[in-house]
């Protein structure tokens, strides 16, 4: 029967399950002020950073984990997490790719990310974060020529402390939520991008993140500033090796767009989702937010979320500048026992601000997929517009799709539109494809890809191909 075939298709094994044997510089599990001082000291951070981390930690102690999401998991023991781990072989910092641990590069090659070739061929600068430390950055020269800064966060803290101090925590304050506070206290590294006035970044900036050390929580922090009239497209891709324990991932991404600036941020998230029984997998609690500070600015989020046991993530845009634009395009797939509670917030402050939300949720196996979105039109948001479309596709009888739209309108001239649909992958569609000669798995993948097309269209070309492949792999084993 279809069910069985669909299950076979969906149940393909996670192909990135290997572990690189690299000696790690790891501290004991647990969190206290000393751990935070140690992290800051190892990174030789200026005083303002340590002070900020400690304030965040103190605030975190007063908070409790959020329980409003449509997610079920055992409580996380935050004292059983290792908060700092860096690959030992790069302790002294590689000056170029040649100095990077060959084993590390091999890992990337297995993932299909040959740093040497692919970066160059694709014209992509890769800032690879391996566990917590950035190990290689390419294309620096070309970017420097344009005046673009693209470097590991820890480097930016030393080289551009005034920019960090000015912008860090201004979009996502450490008080924002439980996981943002935790990240602010313990974040180890991440990426920093600054595009100067009037510069169009000459290439797409790309970071591949990877969790490697067992039991290591990964806490990246990314800050992107697009100054007046600038443009940048940033790609973030993630894969992680197979492991049985749950691993916590609590990242923070802050985007700032000044007058007439544009930021396009694309993510393919493929962390280890756990096995068919729901054992293991990454807990992904991420805070992503952009602020359209300037007039006519634009921030666009595109995400393909196929991995992680739990995804808790709401890439948002604060539309402050008049005529600014916020976009959110999302595909979230949950298979087996994966759970996702994801969506966006569009906060309209300025006049004539516009936002678009396109969310595609796909549930298979016992997967649970929730869209949670807030559209808020504040009193000053004259003639603001929002269009929201959220569609769910169910591939089994045991999965679930949920929609939680919140709409608040405080300006009578603002318009909000919301469309939602839920459909089951059609026996009719499957039979139609098969009658024309397509194999079931090809038919499923074609139908699902068609369902996601609106979002894939927003991805940069090379990412779109990767996203489609990822969807195929993630679906292997899924309709009923």
């Amino acid at each position: 029967m279809e069910n069985k075939i669909i299950k076979e298709v969906v149940d393909k094994q996670y192909p990135y399950g290997f572990e690189t044997k690299i000696e790690s510089d790891t501290i004991a599990a647990g969190l206290n002020e000393d751990v935070i001082r140690m992290i800051s000291a190892r990174k030789n951070e200026p005083e303002f950073m340590l002070a900020w981390r400690l304030k965040a930690y103190q605030h975190w102690l007063t908070m409790t984990p959020p329980e409003w999401a449509h997610l079920h998991h055992e409580p996380i023991d935050y004292q059983n997490i290792i908060y700092y781990s860096a690959p030992k072989s790069v302790k002294d910092g590689p000056k170029s790719l040649d100095e990077v641990d060959p084993k590390l590069l091999e890992t990337y090659n297995k993932l299909g990310i040959p740093l040497h070739e692919q970066g160059r061929l694709a014209g992509v600068a890769v800032d690879a974060v391996f566990d917590s430390i950035s190990v290689a950055t390419t294309f620096k020269a070309k970017l420097a020529e344009a005046g673009v800064i693209f470097c590991p966060f820890s480097e930016a803290v030393h080289k551009y402390p005034e920019l960090i101090e000015k912008y860090l925590g201004t979009v996502v304050p450490y008080r924002d939520n439980y996981f943002a506070a935790l990240n602010s206290a313990v974040f180890s590294d991440g990426s920093f991008v600054y595009i100067p006035k009037g510069v169009r970044c000459p290439m797409e900036l790309s970071t591949y993140f990877r969790i490697n050390e067992a039991k290591t929580g990964q806490f990246e922090r990314t800050l992107i500033i697009a100054d007046e009239g600038s443009y940048v497209s940033y790609l973030e891709g993630c894969t992680a090796p197979m492991r049985d324990e749950n691993q916590l991932h609590a990242a923070v991404v802050e985007l700032v767009a000044m007058d007439n600036a544009q930021i396009k941020y694309s993510t393919v998230q493929n962390w280890y989702p756990g096995d068919e029984e729901g054992r293991g997998g990454i807990y992904n609690f991420v805070t992503k937010r952009g602020q359209c500070r300037g007039v006519n600015s634009k921030i666009s989020w595109t995400q393909i979320e196929t991995g992680s046991a739990i995804t808790w993530k709401y890439p948002s845009v604060i539309l402050q500048g008049d005529n600014s634009i916020g976009e959110f395009y999302s595909v979230a797939l949950t298979n087996n026992y994966q759970q996702a509670d994801t969506g966006t917030k569009m906060i309209h402050i300025g006049k004539n601000t516009r936002s678009t939300i396109i969310s595609k949720g796909i549930s298979a196996g016992h997967g649970q997929n929730a869209y949670r979105g807030l559209v808020r039109m504040l009193p000053g948001a004259k003639n603001a517009r929002n269009y929201t479309q959220c569609d769910s596709l169910l591939l089994s009888d045991t999965c679930g799709a949920h929609t939680f739209p919140y709409i608040e309108v405080k300006n009578p001239t603002a318009h909000v539109e919301h469309e939602a649909s839920t459909s089951k992958i059609g026996e009719d569609q499957l039979f139609y494809c098969r009658q024309r000669g397509l194999k079931t798995e090809d038919a499923i993948s074609m139908i699902v890809n068609g369902f996601c097309k609106q979002v894939f269209n927003e991805l940069p070309m090379e990412f779109a191909v990767e996203a489609q492949k990822l969807l195929e792999v993630s679906l292997e084993g899924s309709v009923g």
Partner: protein, 255 residues
């Protein structure tokens, strides 16, 4: 040659009640022949079409179906397609986001692969499909649209005929393809069917209306009622049905 023997098929409804739909169908279609099946609603015509194409919501309790000697019932739908079975759907389904031409090319190459033939490249395919689109009266905008999405009823049927022309199947089932068509579209369907009649390819045409038969000359007409073929004959049978309806076939007057 298609040969159906003593085919009995049940369907289970939502309340798990088993209902017999086909109660012993016998039918032989020789290469090159066009057979027409008529009959009242609920007589089992569409079920027969779907069972031949391999839809799996039916329970086959008895009988055999062979196509050129091969056991059709043992094959899954895609294998049947590769063996030349084509069903022009009564209600073609929409597949949002999937490009119409990408779909058709994937289908064609998937069938070619099953037949150990090399895939047709994009340029050759485009040339082929553009010619065929003219024949069915679809303009080139349909190259870029999603499969059947937002198509009118007539456009959907034209798209089915387009697929038939491109895939060049050897056994074609037209399941009420003429329903809802205007006279121009009806003539187009007939023209395409006639152009494909080559003495080898055979057709099973399910229809409610005699008017299609003004343009397609069938070899045999069958009347189906209550899950069985009740009567077979030549073209005059269709005219008789048009005049008298189906009620005269019931009441035990059927031989």
């Amino acid at each position: 040659m298609l040969e159906i023997r003593q085919l009995e098929v049940n369907i289970q409804d939502e309340k798990q009640t088993v209902k017999p739909i086909l109660r012993g169908v016998n039918l032989q279609i020789q290469p090159g022949e066009v057979h027409v099946i008529m009959g009242p609603n609920g007589s089992g015509k569409s079920t027969l079409s779907n069972v031949l194409a391999g839809r799996d919501e039916y329970e086959i309790t008895n009988g055999t179906v062979t196509l050129n000697g091969a056991d059709l019932l043992a094959m899954n739908p895609e294998e049947r397609a590769a063996h030349g079975v084509f069903l022009a759907f009564q209600y073609p389904t929409e597949i949002p986001g999937v490009n119409n031409m990408y779909f058709l090319r994937t289908a064609l190459n998937s069938q070619r692969k099953l037949k150990n033939m090399p895939p047709l490249d994009a340029a050759d395919f485009l040339a082929l499909v553009k010619t065929k689109m003219k024949e069915v009266g679809l303009n080139e905008s349909f190259l870029h649209r999603a499969v059947n999405e937002g198509f009118s009823g007539g456009e959907k049927k034209r798209n089915e005929v387009l697929q038939m022309l491109v895939l060049e199947p050897s056994f074609i089932i037209l399941d009420e393809t003429d329903s809802g068509l205007d006279i121009d579209a009806l003539q187009m369907v007939a023209r395409c069917v006639n152009s494909m009649r080559d003495g080898k390819r055979s057709f099973l045409v399910v229809t409610h209306y005699q008017r299609l038969l003004d343009y397609i000359t069938p070899d045999v007409i069958h009347v189906m009622a209550e899950g069985k073929i009740q009567k077979s004959g030549d073209k005059s049978l269709a005219l008789e049905l048009e005049e008298k309806g189906y009620s005269w076939l019931k009441n035990g007057s059927v031989s």
